[in-house]
């Protein structure tokens, strides 16, 4: 008998065992089929209330979660606000308590402050799913990346995966590093030295500032979105130079493996970190990632929803 899911919350991949990650991926595999049915809906979470609390702009993650919840027949409510204006009115804790009083079952939160998902998880009886907290973690994105890798390459163990770009500010990079290393992949992080966080090599990854070198042996590359405003803080001199040195185009891929996978968490800046030719090429699995994201999020919602019963028995 496989291990059951025992966690109330999903806050990050750092705290998960490889078995738990595997369980989510296996469960997601079963969920993929639902979106292909005539009626794309199962009653698993009928009567559950799910709140999408998004304090940072996000269209795709919120939509993905919302669709996932709806396909599981849960009722969903969206709260969107900017964290800064939000905190002027009511503290996050007070908002959380209000939601608790409304007897919600699952809270999905996106917030610019690292640690905020955990902050709420400690207060609430409801399950909390971290949809991105600052530069800390974005577990469902990494899970859907792992799912896509496994789908396309048949395995994750011993794959060479290179994450390229703004590692410093990226929660996607961090969650991917935890997930990939736990499942036995070899991870390289590549990008300008100014966008490398201190001590990242201690997480068991190889650091490389030469992108050409970093993609040579890669089975897959995960290209991170570059925030245009970063150049204002002197993290790199210009978009032009970033594109030239670190942007992935067909020219750079010439040295890479012929069946390299190109991933991107989106939304992509066409012809900045990724050229249009690459984004639309046969290497690209960017849209598969989006499709898989739905299955992964359905799996996560289903697992945490069932945790209440498991935790009660124990």
């Amino acid at each position: 008998m496989k291990e059951l899911w025992k966690r109330k919350d999903l806050l990050g991949l750092q705290e998960l065992s490889s078995e738990e990650i595997q369980l989510i991926l296996d469960t997601a595999d079963s969920f993929k089929e639902i979106s292909l049915r005539a009626i794309k809906k199962v009653p698993a979470l009928r009567g559950k209330t799910i709140v999408n609390l998004f304090l940072e702009p996000s269209t795709r993650t919120r939509t993905s979660f919302e669709l996932a919840a709806k396909r599981l027949s849960a009722d969903t409510v969206n709260i969107s606000a900017s964290a800064s204006s939000f905190t002027k009115g009511e503290t996050l804790k007070d908002t959380a308590r209000n939601l608790q009083a409304l007897k919600i079952d699952i809270l999905i939160m996106r917030h610019s402050a690292a640690g905020s998902a955990r902050f709420l998880a400690d207060i609430l009886d409801a399950s909390v799913i971290n949809a991105g907290d600052g530069a800390h973690e974005h577990p469902t994105q990494a899970l859907l990346d792992l799912f896509t890798l496994k789908q396309k390459k048949g395995k994750i163990k011993n794959l060479n995966v290179t994450i390229i770009g703004d590692i410093l500010h990226s929660r996607v990079a961090r969650s991917n590093i935890w997930g990939l290393t736990k499942l036995g992949a070899n991870v390289t992080v590549a990008g300008p030295a100014t966008l490398m966080p201190v001590g990242i090599e201690r997480l068991g990854v190889t650091v490389c500032t030469d992108v050409n070198k970093a993609i040579k042996q890669a089975d897959a590359i995960n290209i991170l979105r570059i925030q245009m405003e970063r150049q204002k803080t002197n993290l790199f001199p210009s978009i032009r130079e970033y594109r030239d040195l670190y942007g992935i185009d067909l020219e750079k891929l010439k040295n890479a493996s012929k069946d390299i996978l190109v991933m991107h968490p989106g939304p992509i800046n066409r012809d900045v970190e990724i050229s249009s030719e690459v984004a639309d090429s046969s290497y690209s699995v960017i849209l598969d990632q989006v499709t898989n994201g739905l299955a992964v999020r359905m799996a996560v919602l289903y697992l945490v929803a069932g945790s209440a019963a498991v935790l009660e028995v124990n």
Binding site: Q14, G115, F119, G134, A135, P197, V198, I200, L203
Partner: protein, 430 residues
Amino acid sequence: MDILIKGGRIVDPSQDFDCIADLGINMGKIVACGSGIKEKANKVVDATGLIVVPGLIDMHVHFREPGMEEKETIYTGMRAAAKGGFSSVATMPNTKPATDNEGIVKYILTKTAEKPLINVFPVAAATLARDGKQMTEIGELKKAGAVALSDDGDCITNSALLRRILEYAGSLDMPVLEHCEDPVLSGQGVMNESIMSTILGLKGIPAASEVVMVARDLTLCKMTGSRLHIQHVSSAGSVELIRWAKSKGVPVTAETAPHYLVLTDDDLHSYSTMLKVKPPIGSKHDREELIKAVKDGTIDAIASDHAPHLHAEKDVEFDYAPFGMIGLESSIPLIMETLINPGILDFKDLVRLMSLNPANILGLKGKGSLKRGADGDVTLIDPEKEVVLTKDYFESKSINTPFLNWKCKGAPTSLFVSGKQILKDEKIIG
């Protein structure tokens, strides 16, 4: 004589004294210090098994009055100090408005005198409104009762201005206390930049933010020859530079705080906002170097940087919480538990770091010593007393401490200020 403290172990490095002896106080002054004092006293305090030391001095506290009385008042701050065994404190000038004129210095002294418990020595701002642009009227501030200058909370980043302040204050024999931080290097950082900030995804403050300013300050200190004191040293790099400067005879002194000696940035894994302080808690290596530095005298003083904040202000996302923790009540129990009981520091070190040197740095006459004629400020520490730092243990109006419910062995049990007993059996009676 008024009071005779009998049979305690008197530790007073100012006269190189460490033995079981008696201490006599009369008219608020020490009148006798030695074994077998026969003279009759109005009140005899049995100090058997206790450590008797010169009244402790916390040279770095924030009492928030005037302006932020919801966090702490001078009175509640004094109660916290008394509970922690401190007979004197130096209050930082980041009040609202800043302590940048004689009026506010006098206000603090008046408020202290209204319900006197301990000695409060105001530190005045070095620049008007602490905005780092124009120096305050240092001479007038000194006359009003300020003992030192500091823009604590902020660094005086304008090097030319700091040079002039050092020169001018030096001529008036006023020490300058510096909060060393390059605000641009710190940026939006909220914790030490390290593998921990990388894992937690929190913005880091590089240790270099402190170290570059220490280097600049030491250079200006050497150049002007004026006394400079570096506040809340938190990193190994700063220690190394201060040690070098001292070896060259630069007139610099330095302090660190108990939390830098007890905690490391690994402790931030829980995102507890109680651990959000400035400068940020450093790495294990920083902690080890700081401990060496307090032991070998590179760092002269331990001060709490007692910084009260409301619970509601701290009960938010890590990014949004204010910097600072309270520390007056927990200082001695923590130092006992983590440094003295394991044998890293001894009581002589403790008195040197928390009474003698602070008195010398701030020029507090009659403090930091139990010599005849010194002020009757005495702290009694029970090294066997086991305390739990529960909510009730704290007297401060705020409770922002990461040490809540820590168990420590060794705590102050009595305090005399100018011969008046303020703390008895750990309770404030003043």
